[in-house]
Symmetry: C2
């Protein structure tokens, strides 16, 4: 991190804001920049006590930076990359992102940025959005999935690893395609299932909400996430997500079969297998 | 509560233990009793600092008590009720329970205990089990669903309401059938969906667990619950749960249709409706 003289964050939302807060705390020598589409974003950044140079011009925000992090919706990253490619980039400049999909992003950004682009995906977030919800400890103990490709230079990869470690992440590395299959399973599927459960429970009887307890609250929490953001993610990872949702339908049909046929032995086995797998999930803060 | 001279809890598990801890804290004048099937349970009760008279005879544990609370699995409650009916009961003795289903319980216990039995269902729990996980504040701010019937005496109902209010519950009242439909929706459905999501995500790729983040963790938390307990609940509330699971399958098919057909407008609408409904859930501790 000490070598990152200028770090430029594109998109001052929950993730971009949390990155800035974490960097201020853990790497105080770094000079921060923010790029946002709208001038009005600067007020919100200042309100969080972040000392950063502010740009609405995506070329100027990139000039001379050693690390550029795209914290914008995945469907707009190619547009920003095209601007970044026009800038006077530092010789050792790396560009990364925090997007939830990698296949499409790597495919779109590599032709524009070449070996400089290496995908990152810190598995941290919230159903809340915006810099108002940003937290300096958002990345602490989070898994961060990196997706180096054949063209990636080892020195760049090492610098990127070191950056995320500074923020408290534990690192995993996958090809972009492996990454998309994993997150379809672990992140995009649960998101969609939370929406399915919410609609199944409340669409026909919204008043049932008076009875909710911790189980419903936790199982459906992420259904409160931003619909636009998640439509973009699902759209960018359609095939992998589809496979997972079909697998969920198969499991649901398996369960329905046990319950319809009063097969309590089958149901007990189903729930026992689910518990055994759930019990392998490390508690928060443990890797 | 001041009128509850002797309060007898059947079943020293998570709920029974939490009840005892809460009563010790909030109604210190009450004399507590515990009934358990096994002698060995007494050690665990003492280890939690609970001062209670201990019984393994279900008749003796009931004699003279003003309030008896069944905190045993729903499928064994009729057996305990039959013993309780043989005891020298106090004239004003009320029997209630904390079971997750009410149709079957009320149907089985009313012929044995008559108007004395009034069903209760505090919507509080944990994926953890046993008195080791008991907490004095488990019922604070929890919804408690009461299911009085035509034979219920108003004075008894008022005493039962007052008891749960003392523990910090907010009360709702339903017929046993309405209760079962509500909890199938709000509690039993999410439990089964957590198991479905866990199996869909991890059965084919248990190693994907290294990538989990908060979304997966919350969405699947309750899949770590006791398989035996939940098989009993599902079995006792089969029809209402089946209706909810079929509704979940319909919603999942709706979602699959949008994703298969790249219908991002439909998907956005689906997620927006889910978010709007999820946003009506009061935060923990608010009613």
């Amino acid at each position: 991190m000490s070598s990152e003289r200028i770090l430029s964050i594109y998109g001052p939302g929950l993730l971009g804001g949390s990155l800035a807060l974490a960097i201020q705390e853990r790497a105080p020598g770094v000079r921060l920049r923010f790029w946002a589409r709208r001038e009005s974003a600067e007020v919100a950044i200042r309100a969080r006590g972040i000392a950063a140079d502010f740009f609405t011009n995506a070329i100027d925000a990139a000039a001379g930076a050693s690390l550029i992090i795209l914290c914008t919706p995945v469907e707009t990253m190619a547009e920003q990359a095209a601007q970044i490619a026009k800038a006077q980039l530092a010789a050792d400049c790396i560009v990364t992102d925090v997007g939830s999909v990698k296949g499409r992003v790597v495919q779109e950004l590599t032709p524009i940025l070449g070996h400089r682009f290496i995908g990152s995906h810190p598995m941290a977030g919230s159903e809340k959005t915006g810099i108002e919800a940003a937290r300096a400890d958002l990345f602490q103990n989070a898994a961060c999935l990196l997706t180096p490709v054949a063209e990636t230079r080892l020195a760049d990869l090492e610098r990127l690893r070191s950056f995320w470690k500074t923020l408290g992440c534990r690192l995993l590395e996958f090809t972009p395609e492996e990454h998309d299959a994993k997150v379809a399973r672990i992140s995009h599927l649960p998101h969609m299932m939370a929406a399915v459960t919410t609609l199944a429970a409340l669409r026909d009887d919204p008043a049932a909400v008076t009875c909710v307890a911790g189980g419903f609250r936790d199982t459906t929490r992420i259904a409160g996430g931003d619909p636009g953001l998640w439509t973009g993610i699902a759209s960018a990872n359609r095939q992998a997500l589809l496979a997972q949702l079909k697998s969920a339908r198969d499991r649901l049909n398996e369960l329905l079969h046990f319950i319809e046929n009063a097969d309590d032995v089958g149901l007990h086995q189903f729930l026992t297998e689910a518990k055994a797998l759930r019990d392998t999930v490390p508690p928060p803060g443990k890797s």
